[in-house]
């Protein structure tokens, strides 16, 4: 046990916690926005994968990491747009649409990678760029906190700002109010002239935007290249985090951090001979348990309400 604590209470661990949480957090925020608009986007994994590849390709050809980031975000948002078009215009089932996006991405990225680099495994032959890490003046000199908080990848800081931005968007802007109203009672929204379809388009595009930031981080920060299936379930963890976080911004952010910790711990826990494969399932187990507790309590509440004895 001591050895475990020794691992956890190090600045290295705290630093890596933020590092591994970043992509989960981005995607979870994306899932949050679309879920609040009443439209569940399970294509997160696929959107992240596409944007990760796009970031590598665009940055390799333009030799600019920033243009690469732009390319990543545009392509991820475009994929979300395609999903939105099919589900909102053609009435494709949103879940099957998400399955299609994931299928497209897992093979499509390898297809394009192979065409451009002749390699199906990774983008080593493409000279792609990475986004910079940032030392924060003053903070970096504080003992303990400095090494934890400073020196992160720029998108890690962006992800923290994104939590604030999404919170502000959902709770403090007219658009957020409309998104939440469409998710909760679309008839009410429609009766006062709010276009449900327009809001859902917007929400899906935003979910694609945030997921693609997570994707860009994977190939232009977390790693400095694209490898096939590099998202490795982070999109699903994000959906789990959003569900566990009960669709609130704070809850989603905290659960993302918790699931990030499970990820960061998987190495640490191996010291205790707990296999990484099992630790990797923790977020999903936690989500099923969370979902179950919620469903049971909802059912109880409903039964209680109607079965309560009548006061005469």
């Amino acid at each position: 046990m001591n050895s475990l604590l020794n691992v956890i209470f190090t600045t290295d661990f705290a630093f890596s916690l933020l590092r591994v949480t970043t992509p989960i957090l981005f995607a979870a925020l994306g899932a949050l926005i679309s879920n609040r608009a009443g439209i569940i986007n399970i294509g997160m994994e696929g959107i992240m994968l596409v944007s990760a590849l796009a970031g590598v390709i665009v940055s390799a050809y333009t030799q600019s990491a920033w243009v690469g980031l732009l390319g990543a975000v545009l392509s991820g948002t475009l994929i979300a747009g395609i999903l939105a078009f099919f589900t909102l215009k053609f009435k494709t089932h949103i879940i099957l649409g998400g399955v299609a996006i994931n299928m497209f991405a897992s093979g499509g990225t390898v297809f394009i990678l192979y065409l451009l680099s002749g390699d199906k495994g990774s983008s080593t032959s493409l000279a792609s760029k990475v986004l910079p890490s940032v030392q924060i003046p003053l903070i970096k000199d504080i003992p303990v906190l400095g090494p934890i908080l400073s020196g992160h990848h720029i998108l890690t800081y962006v992800s923290i700002l994104a939590v604030l931005a999404v919170y502000y968007l959902l709770n403090r802007t007219p658009l957020g109010l409309r998104i939440r109203s469409v998710g909760e009672n679309p008839h009410a929204a429609q009766s006062v002239g709010v276009s449900v379809v327009k809001i859902q388009y917007t929400a899906l595009l935003l979910s694609g935007f945030f997921a693609s930031l997570g994707g860009a981080y994977m190939s232009m920060g977390y790693l400095s290249l694209f490898t096939r299936d590099m998202i490795a379930g982070r999109g699903w963890i994000a959906i789990a985090a959003e569900s566990m976080g009960r669709s609130t911004t704070i809850g989603t952010a905290l659960t993302s951090l918790l699931f990030g910790a499970a990820d960061a711990l998987s190495n640490a826990l191996q010291v205790l001979k707990i296999p990484a494969e099992l630790i990797a399932t923790l977020p999903y187990v936690a989500t099923v348990i969370g979902l179950l507790i919620y469903a049971v309590s909802e059912t109880r509440k409903k039964n209680k309400k109607v079965k309560s004895p009548v006061a005469k």
Partner: protein, 349 residues
């Protein structure tokens, strides 16, 4: 009457044609010799006995998962858990294939039965959560996919792994456990017979038994089923058990039929492909045969194309995505159906 009745068939055909057209366009853009490549894509899978064998081998797992998903969709259950169950039951069957010593008749039977039963039990969990507490079966089943994969991979890496092998694979299966080949010159195994029997049984179950009737009515209109006196919660749990059983059987059969070691280090994807097969088959058990063969055909075509030309086989996932997006699009070609309906209404008036 005539035309509207065949609308769904026409629509499915249109989707397949569009998907193939997109395949041709991609090939034309990518390949140096587009015509030759298209020829390979379309012709090679059926050119030799061996290749036809490949198509059928590939179709077997797709039929299993397609059948499982069809039944779930038939009951209006949005459950994509066949993926994880297929994988995990493969692990279970592998354990028995490695560690049991039985004769070559009983060994596969026991291993497959164990895999199927484990699949049924695992699948029942989201079913019970749905039936009893209305917990969203989609989310639980998706989470279960990842959980089962993690546990399965753990078993592979810590308990089944053959340290002497070069790759991340299990010990060799006992020869008694492996399914025998049924056509010389191909690797088609007895799993084909098993899956065809399952499909026929599922067809009989769905259309000819009272339980299948309950399942169909619950899927079409749960209020109606309840009003008629059916216990819909039980129906939902039952369909999960059956679908899990079939998906689990698929994983077990695939492992024992095609490999001599367990070697999936990632989810093989057959569960999600099963959703595509089910959609193409309009959730009809017998049609699952055709739609699985079609999917296997274009996949083997893509594999051949990758081997013999300059276009990578991953093109196929783009085609699959297009098929899913269009086949489940209610509004796709709907305007045409409406026009036909109007015409018929006028003709009848």
């Amino acid at each position: 009457m005539f035309k509207v009745k065949y609308f769904e068939v026409i629509r499915t055909a249109a989707v397949i044609l569009i998907a193939l057209a997109i395949a041709f366009i991609i090939i034309s853009l990518v390949s140096d010799q587009p015509l030759k490549t298209i020829g390979i894509f379309l012709w090679e899978p059926i050119s030799t006995k061996g290749h036809i064998g490949n198509v059928i081998e590939m179709a077997i797992p797709l039929m299993f998962t397609g059948l499982a998903v069809s039944l779930l969709f038939r009951a209006n259950m949005f459950n994509l858990g066949a993926e994880g169950i297929f994988y995990f039951s493969g692990v279970v069957a592998s354990v028995l294939a490695i560690h049991l010593s039985l004769n070559s008749w009983f060994h596969p039977v026991v291993a497959i039965a164990a895999g199927s039963i484990v699949g049924a039990l695992l699948s029942a969990i989201p079913g019970i959560l749905k039936a009893k507490w209305n917990a969203n079966e989609l989310v639980t089943s998706l989470m279960f996919n990842n959980i089962l994969f993690g546990v399965g991979l753990y078993l592979l890496n810590y308990h089944l792994r053959d340290a002497k092998a070069f790759a991340n694979v299990s010990y060799k299966f006992q020869e008694t456990a492996q399914l025998s080949k049924i056509f010389t010159g191909t690797r088609i195994h007895t799993g084909l017979i098993i899956v065809l029997v399952m499909i026929v049984l599922a067809h009989l179950f769905l259309y000819r038994t009272k339980w299948g009737y309950e399942l169909r009515m619950t899927g079409v209109n749960r209020d109606f089923a309840r009003y008629s006196g059916m216990k819909t919660a039980k129906v939902i749990i039952l369909v999960h058990l059956i679908a899990g059983f079939i998906a689990g059987m698929g994983g077990s059969v695939e492992v024992l039929g095609m490999y001599n070691r367990f070697q999936w280090a990632s989810l093989p994807g057959y569960g999600l492909d099963g959703a595509l097969v089910a959609m193409l088959a309009k959730n009809n058990p017998l049609s699952v045969i055709g739609s699985a063969l079609f999917l296997a055909y274009i996949r083997i075509g893509a594999d051949m194309m990758a081997r013999l030309s300059d276009v990578p086989s991953e093109m196929i996932s783009i085609i699959q995505a297009v098929i899913i997006l269009l086949i489940s699009a209610e509004q796709f070609l709907k305007f045409w159906k409406n026009r036909m309906l109007l015409k018929e209404a006028k003709a009848n008036a």
